[in-house]
Each structure stands twice: as C-alpha cells, then as structure tokens.
C-alpha cells in the first residue's frame, strides 16, 4: 500500500462535508428571490464598479487635447493602439510588464509553496510553542510595511542591489496571510488519519508532504496563488522606493507616469489600462475562484 493510494479518496468526502453546511444554513435572504429593486440597486453598484475601468479605455483611445475639453468623451476614439504603443515604449511599460511577471510569478510560487508547508505544520503537526507561534504569525500582519523600508533601503544600497528585481522579491517570499490561509484550509480538508496512515507505513515527512498534503491542499494552493499574484502585481510602497524608471515594475512605471514622465493624459490612461489588463483577464478567467478564496478566507478569518 503506497501512500499516494491512501491520500486522495479521503479528501473527497471531507471537501464535500466542508461545503455542505454553509449551503444548508444560508441566511433567510438567500431563500427569497431578488426583486426588480434589488437588481436595480445592484446594477448601480456594478456601473460604479465598472465605469471607471471602461472610461480608462475610452480615455486611452483619445488625445491629450481632447481629454482637457468639456464635455468629456463618452465613446471610444481612434488612438488606443497609438497611445498604448507610446506607453509601452516611452513609459517603459514593456519592460515593466516583463519585470512584474517575473516578480509576481516568483513571489507567487514561493509564497504558495512555503505557506502550504507552514500551514500544514500549524494545522496538523504537534510541536512545542505551536499555538504561540501561530498567534505570532497572525500578529505580524499588523505591522505596517513602513516600519521596514528605511533599513531595507540602506542594506540594498550597501549590497549594490538598488534597482534590481531581487530587492522586491525577497521580502515577500512567504506571507503571514498565506500561512494562515493554508492552515485554515488544511485543518478541515486534510484528515489526520491519512497522515498517520502514511506515518505507519514509514513515510518520511517529505513523502507525507508530497503524497498527502499537496494533493489535499491543491484547490486552496491555486486560490492562494491567484490572490498572491494580484497582491504582488499591485504592491506599491517598497517597489517605488527600491526601483526606479530604469528597471521598473508596472506600479513603478505608473508612478513615473503620474509624476509627469510622459505628460500626456491619454498615454497615462493607456498605461493604466495596460497595467491593469493582465489582472482583468485573470479576473475574467478565474473570477469565481478568486471570489471563493476571499469568501473562504473571510469565514475563518
């Protein structure tokens, strides 16, 4: 009997069980169908949510001159690709997108991996001070990033790392949020009997992680990956201190645009649009999973 055979079937009823109760105890509102007024109010919320993004694309397709006139444009013009080209070349959005993919990709892979390991340890393994260490982990989320940036900046300057991507990757290789998120998931989704069964078979911890923990954690790992990617792509404070327009991430390039690097509002809007596009695509493809992940993290948080 190999451990891999043991792992998966157990995860199935468990996952089902986890979802079951929440469906049964839905609040009373859920039982009532929404009336026209509800749809109307929701439509207003939806309009407010989406209009600024649509208008970004409209503004990006116009000229700087036109954007200073009243009334503001309400439909697309013909300059979208020209403005995006300018933003891509002159504002460094091309380099920035590539850098952001590298940075956010590296942070995502490492955060998901290390958070799963730590979350598994907190959820299922017994060790001294585990309760205290978990509390400490949660407590670290309260510390503002501002508390670290001055020394980090001085060290990176000492190392000659100014303006290099590892300066913004290293501090975020694993997060307290990710650790807690995976812990909360694995407490329920990973039956302790499975781990014990694998232990009885003499499986080492690495084998347990590989054959038992990772398969059970996979759905949550995917969701954490999405949430981490969004967070890393949009991270602002430390990147704008550590990097400059010579080697920017998307947010650094947008910051340069905002401070007059290319003083053309239509190009600035094209940059904002381009910089948001990858995440918008991710939301269209995986919106359901991202929504589920935020709601899942919330119940337990």
């Amino acid at each position: 009997m190999t451990t891999s055979e043991l792992t998966l079937p157990q995860a199935e009823p468990q996952a089902g069980k986890k979802r079951g109760p929440s469906r049964r105890v839905m609040g009373a509102g859920k039982q009532l169908h929404a009336g026209p007024v509800t749809y109307l109010v929701l439509a207003v919320f939806a309009l407010v949510s989406l209009a600024p993004l649509v208008w970004t694309a409209i503004a990006a397709s116009r000229t700087d001159h036109r954007l200073a006139e009243t009334p503001p444009p309400l439909w697309f013009g013909g300059n979208l690709f020209k403005n995006m080209q300018t933003a891509w070349d002159e504002a460094g959005l091309g380099t920035a997108m590539l850098n952001s993919v590298i940075v956010a990709g590296a942070i995502t892979i490492s955060t998901v991996l290390f958070s799963t390991l730590a979350g598994f340890a907190f959820a299922k393994l017994r060790f001294r001070f585990s309760g205290f260490l978990l509390l400490l982990t949660i407590g670290t989320m309260m510390i503002p990033p501002q508390l670290a940036v001055v020394p980090l900046y001085l060290w990176m300057a000492d190392l000659g790392w100014s303006n290099q991507l590892q300066t913004v990757i290293l501090p975020t290789l694993v997060t307290a949020f990710g650790t807690f998120f995976m812990r909360q998931y694995l407490v329920q989704a990973l039956p302790s009997e499975l781990i014990e069964a694998a232990r009885v078979d003499g499986a080492s911890s690495i084998r347990v992680v590989w054959h038992v923990v990772f398969p059970a954690a996979r759905p949550a790992m995917a969701v954490l990956g999405l949430l981490t990617f969004v967070f890393a792509w949009n991270d602002f404070l430390w990147p704008i201190i550590a990097l400059n327009q010579q080697n920017p991430t998307v947010q650094v390039a947008l910051n340069s645009l905002g401070t007059g690097y290319v003083p053309d509002q239509a190009v600035i809007m094209a940059g904002a649009f381009l910089g948001t596009l990858p995440l918008l695509i991710a939301f269209i493809l995986f919106g359901k999973q991202i929504v589920g992940g935020i709601m899942q993290g919330a119940i337990k948080g």
């Binding site: 009997m1 043991l6 998966l8 079937p9 157990q10 996952a15 049964r24 105890v25 009373a28 859920k30 039982q31 169908h33 929404a34 509800t38 919320f45 600024p52 208008w55 970004t56 200073a68 009243t70 009334p71 290390f114 730590a118 340890a121 060790f127 260490l133 982990t137 309260m142 510390i143 501002q146 508390l147 670290a148 940036v149 001055v150 290293l170 501090p171 039956p191 014990e196 069964a197 009885v200 003499g202 911890s205 996979r218 759905p219 969004v230 949009n234 602002f236 947008l254 645009l257 905002g258 401070t259 600035i268 809007m269 948001t276 995440l279 939301f283 991202i290 929504v291 935020i294 919330a298």
Partner: protein, 343 residues
Amino acid sequence: MTSPKQALAHPASSAEAAPGSQPGAARGAHGRGTPPPEDKSPWRSRLYRWDMKASPYVFIAPFFVIFGAFSLIPLLYTAWYSLHDVQLSSLDTQTWAGLDNYQNLLSSDFFWNALKNTFTIGVISTVPQLMAAIGLAHLLNYRLRGSTVWRVVMLTPYATSVAAATLVFTLLYSWDGGMVNWLLDFVGIDPINWRESDWGSQFAVSSIVIWRWTGYNALIYLAAMQAIPADLYESAAIDGANRWQQFIHVTVPQLRPTILFTVVVSTIGATQLFGEPLLFGGVSGSKGGSEHQYQTLGLYMYDQGWIIGNLGKASAIAWSMFLILLIVAAINLLVTRRLRKSQ
C-alpha cells in the same frame, strides 16, 4: 491554462481515479501512534524520530526567517535609525541624535497636520465603505440570477492597482474637462476644485479607497451572512419581524465579529494610506497638495525620507505610526471586551 481551472472546479476529480483504498485508512486509524515497522535498523528509526521532531520547525522556518530578516530586524533597526541623524545624501555617516527626531516631529505642524489628515481620510473612507459593503452584501445574499457574475463584477475594482486607479480618478476629478464636475453640472452644482480645496481633495482621495475596497468587504460580509443559521430568521419571522427588522436584529448582531474584523483591517490600511494621495498629487505628490491638505502620515514619511532625504526623521515617523496603531489596537480590544461582556 485549463488544468488549474479544472483543478479548481473539481477539487476532488483526481480522487475518483484511485478508489478502494479504504482499508488503508482503516489500518491507519487502528495503528494510531505505533512506531514504524520494526524491521528497520535502529539508525533508520532514529532518523525517523528526528524527522518527526524537526520537520514542523523546518516547515515553518521559511516564514520566520523571511519575517525576521525583512520585518523584525528592520523594525528594530528603524527604531535605532530614528535615534540617529541619517541623511540620504551621506548614508555612511550616522550620528547619534537621541530623541531629536521625535522632538522635531512633535513640534512640527506638518506632522500634526498629517496625523489629522490620516484620521480624517481614514474615517471618511472607512465608514461609508463598510456601510455600503454591508448593504451590498445583503443584496448579493438574495437568490440572484448569475450570482457569481455579480460578485466578480463587484470585485473588479480590487483588480485595479492603487496606481492605476488613482491615475484614472485624478483625471475624473480634474478641473478642466473632468467627468465628475461635468456630471455635477447636470444637477446644478458648481464645479468643485477637487485638487485644491480641503475637504474636496480629502473626499476625492477617500473615494478611491472606497471604490477599490467596497466590493472586497462586501464579499467578506456575504460569507459571514451565509453562515448565519436560517432558524434565527425563521423565529424572528414568527415573532412578526419584517425584513428590515430581521436585518437590524438578526443580521447585524450576527455579523458583529466580522464587522470588528473589517474595522481592524481597514484601520490598519487607513493608517498606512500612501499611494492614493501620492499619485493624486501628481508632480509634487509627496507634499499632499499645495497646502498639504491631503498629506497622510505614510506620505509624510516618504516625503521626509526620500524627497527631503532625512531617513532618521522618516524612521521616527514610521515608529510613530506603529505606536498609533498599537494604541488603536488596544482601544479596539477594550471595546471588544466591553461588547462581549454586555452581551
């Protein structure tokens, strides 16, 4: 592209491929706590025991190493630097300054101004945001056609970065040709100078925060609403409570822990507010407007540290922010205790 999606949609799909392993699980259950098979050599069983003991610490080590190296040690160094004179122009010479940086702060009008702005903007961005989020969550909790689509739509502002959102809103609020003033003109309101006026600029900055986070908080409330037992509503309905009364007397009290959680998270976020006012200010963004009317503590720290070049003072500002957060957290804890006792 499709494989992660499938994995998400059917979390247990691969499980079905390996049926019939129940015996193994049963064996695991009755074999609880037994050591590994005896035919292993003592060396191997010692290795096994060591593995059992050490592995939890190995698994949590990356988090604590990263936290130590990039948060805890820097946090302590920030305290150290806040007691020194550290200039961006001469990083190698750091001279002891005692509490000079802090005294300097306490006697600086800009510091108090930034503190006041952080508080004001924090309140006018958090309170309406959370109230709108509860209302929105209530609506999303109805049985809706295309409920997932509605939820994703409400969350799209969250996909927009602080930088992108602020660039767009700055243009929407602009004096010449701005969308907001044009719309206000329709309802007969004179154009407002969103950049220069005190409350106008603070409202504009707050609106960016509200726009980005309302949907996110609504989803958190929605998750909590769905966990409220239905019989609470049933008994309220039997007692003759209408839907509004049910919302006030059942939903809101049941959401209390979640509301406290979002208040704490939003407070932490509001204390650090930085990107929105920075980019809203355009070219001289770190000043927070011509009269510093929307310069927050986060922005003041960046301005002192990297624009003016006084990293020692910036460190002192960072620690002041932290102390303020700790005080707020302590107050929050007290209020929570009081609320629990009164229940």
